[in-house]
């Protein structure tokens, strides 16, 4: 056998392994949630009761889906303008300057900070601050969790948008400038239309990341099993209920937790697929 062939087999095996692992995950999630699926059927998705008390056991995922979507959408809304301006700063206005490289390193650093650190900072600094300015009596809830999530996803949204902003051909920009366009006009009329697919995809991927974030959110959302009624209402998310309850769960409760895991898996996959689709379509 020549080395080329060996390499081919190694590569085939490696990629096949990835397929096998994701397939295996999906299979075990489906198998684990069978009990709950049989028990609750579609009602699992639209029921917002989560009652593990023996004899009155009833599980529904709606309140966790709502909490996950509310916090992630809020995070996206907060992160969007910040990530957009940061990427313009790095990719256009201060491109290739010392300042831009410092900011871009810091943004990458944010991405590398473990989520427990964000959680601790949120718990000891952000939450008391929100209480002290009178926004909420105890500081837990959708708003605090969304704010932390926003900070956590900014680097994801920024770095991909950066790349696509930098990839806009110089000739186009120079042509616009030579016609007398201002910087702002160049941004709106040349950079944005050219980089939009990359920018949109970066926000979608950041959103996907926000959906699955567990630790920091668990520490700040209040873990109350209710559908959030406002910005400062407490709630719970899919990832945090799994992390909180799987240790002592068994039977139907465990199966319902696994079904929530399955839902999270499916939602995240769909979001990522949507991101890929947008990159392809808009490019």
């Amino acid at each position: 056998m020549n080395s080329d062939k060996i390499l081919k087999y190694v590569l085939f095996f490696a990629s096949f392994l990835i397929l096998l692992i994701s397939g295996g995950m999906l299979y075990s999630l489906i198998q684990g949630s069978m009990l709950s699926m049989h028990h609750f059927g579609w009602k699992f998705l639209i029921s917002s009761e989560w009652n593990p008390t023996k004899g009155q056991e009833h599980y529904g995922a709606l309140l966790f889906i709502a909490g996950t979507l509310f916090t992630s959408i809020l995070a996206l809304i907060i992160a969007l303008p910040m990530a957009f301006s940061t990427s313009l700063f790095i990719g256009e206005y201060f491109r290739n300057t010392r300042m831009a490289s410092i900011v871009s390193t810091l943004v990458d650093l944010l991405a590398g900070i473990p989520s427990i650190i964000y959680g601790l900072w949120g718990f000891y600094i952000l939450r008391p601050f929100i209480v002290s300015i009178g926004l909420s009596a105890q500081g837990y809830g959708i708003f605090t969790a969304g704010l932390i999530l926003a900070i956590m996803i900014i680097p994801y949204a920024t770095s991909l948008s950066n790349t696509s902003i930098m990839m806009v051909p110089n000739e186009l920009k120079e042509a616009a400038y030579s016609l007398g366009a201002t910087r702002l006009e160049v941004i709106w009329n040349v950079i944005l239309p050219n980089a939009r697919s990359g920018i949109a995809a970066s926000y979608i991927l950041a959103f996907g990341r926000a959906l699955g974030e567990t630790l920091a959110v668990t520490m700040l959302i209040g873990n109350a099993n209710i559908i959030p009624t406002g910005l400062f209402s407490t709630g719970n998310t899919m990832a945090s209920v799994i992390a909180n309850q799987f240790g002592e769960a068994s039977g139907l409760q465990l199966s319902s937790l696994i079904e929530i895991g399955l839902l999270l898996f499916v939602i995240t996959t769909l979001i990522n697929a949507a991101g890929k689709f947008i990159i392809k379509k808009m490019a």
Binding site: T53, V131, Q138, Y140, T218, N223, A224, Q245, Q253
Partner: protein, 345 residues
């Protein structure tokens, strides 16, 4: 060359470990008594040379390990119900090792202790009492000037024996609680915010003015948290202390010790207390275990009842077992058999 050396060292070490065909014991289960078990087992290993490993994996996982017959003993904060017992592959006995309690902790600036009746406690955790200036609190604590402050209930967001003990007590003292929430390792809370683990609940309480919640006594004693006096069945307001928790075991205990000590009828008992148990198969010949292995297991558990081991419990803030309970536990241990013959004399 270096690699070969490393490999040789590895082989030697593993061979050495293999040749010592010494018996080593393994257990798994509750995290609540973990500090006690760690210290006690270490002491036992030091004096007898017996190797023991204990995994604090949670009561549920501990029971599963025992049911899968992969450990010598399991450990749980909640006793197995009749239904759960019959689901085990063979008959299982419960041996209590120490007691713990759940204390009600709060954050009210300038107030170190408050008195609570079961009825008020239920109203607080059901969200009926929403403010500290509620007349019910004033009536119980005439000397305290309660502020106009919103009450924030804090509970455990993770499944926990602490929640089980607390809700078991509330279920016993209130019909409404029993109907609406019941008891369990997690329940469907009507109000408040959830925090993970004893440190999470205690941290949230200490950081939030007007917060009230429940934490394991072993944690609150170690951290010296302000706690509430709870009125017990005899009508006395009892402060959670080592003595009052231990006293909860002085009521009537069934021979198999499967009982929640909550709402104890002992006059000086703190009402929210309970045992933590080690679980063993009644016949020790399973999964090809040797007689020596069975003997080593039972000797260890028997030692856990000794004054030496029980005093270690006190050191790490667990309440030691009262003497009558130790007698009952020793009797259960002596009923454990290997192929039908008793192992301990």
């Amino acid at each position: 060359m270096k690699k070969i050396g490393l490999f040789l060292a590895f082989v030697l070490v593993s061979a050495a470990a293999f040749c010592q065909s010494e018996i080593s014991l393994s257990g798994a289960g509750a995290t609540f008594p973990l500090p006690f078990y760690n210290m006690a087992f270490e002491q036992y290993t030091k004096t007898t040379g017996q190797k023991i490993s204990y995994g604090g994996v949670g009561s549920g996982a501990g029971i599963k390990s025992l049911s899968d017959k992969v450990v010598d003993f399991g450990a749980s904060d909640a006793f197995l119900s009749d239904k759960e017992l019959s689901a085990m592959p063979a008959s299982v006995v419960h041996i209590p090792t120490c007691s713990g309690a759940v204390v009600v902790a709060f954050n009210l600036p300038g107030v170190e202790a408050i008195k609570l009746t079961p009825a008020v406690l239920v109203d607080i955790f059901m969200g009926k009492i929403k403010n500290w200036n509620n007349p019910a609190l004033k009536k119980l604590n005439p000397t305290i000037k309660f502020p106009n402050l919103e009450m924030t209930v804090v509970y455990r967001s993770d499944g926990s024996g602490t929640t089980n003990m607390f809700t078991d007590y509330l279920t016993k003292v209130s019909k409404e609680w029993a109907a609406k929430l019941g008891s369990g390792k997690t329940v469907n809370w009507l109000t408040g915010i959830g925090a993970k683990g004893n440190p999470g609940v205690a941290g949230t309480i200490s950081q939030t003015k007007g917060a009230i919640g429940y934490v394991g006594s072993e944690y609150s004693f170690a951290q010296k948290i302000a706690t509430a006096y709870i009125q017990n069945k005899s009508g006395k307001f009892i402060r959670p202390t080592m003595a009052s928790i231990s006293a909860a075991g002085k009521g009537t205990i069934p021979a198999d010790t499967r009982v929640m000590l909550t709402n104890s009828d002992a006059p000086i008992a703190y009402p929210i207390a309970g045992f933590t148990w080690i679980l063993l198969y009644k016949d020790q010949n399973y999964a090809n275990r040797s007689l020596a292995q069975a003997e080593a297991t039972l000797k260890l558990i028997d030692w856990m009842m000794s004054p030496d081991a029980q005093s270690i419990a006190g050191k790490v803030n667990y309440a030691p077992l009262p003497a009558p309970v130790v007698l009952k536990a020793k009797a259960i241990l002596r009923s454990v058999t290997y192929n039908g013959k008793p192992v301990l004399k």
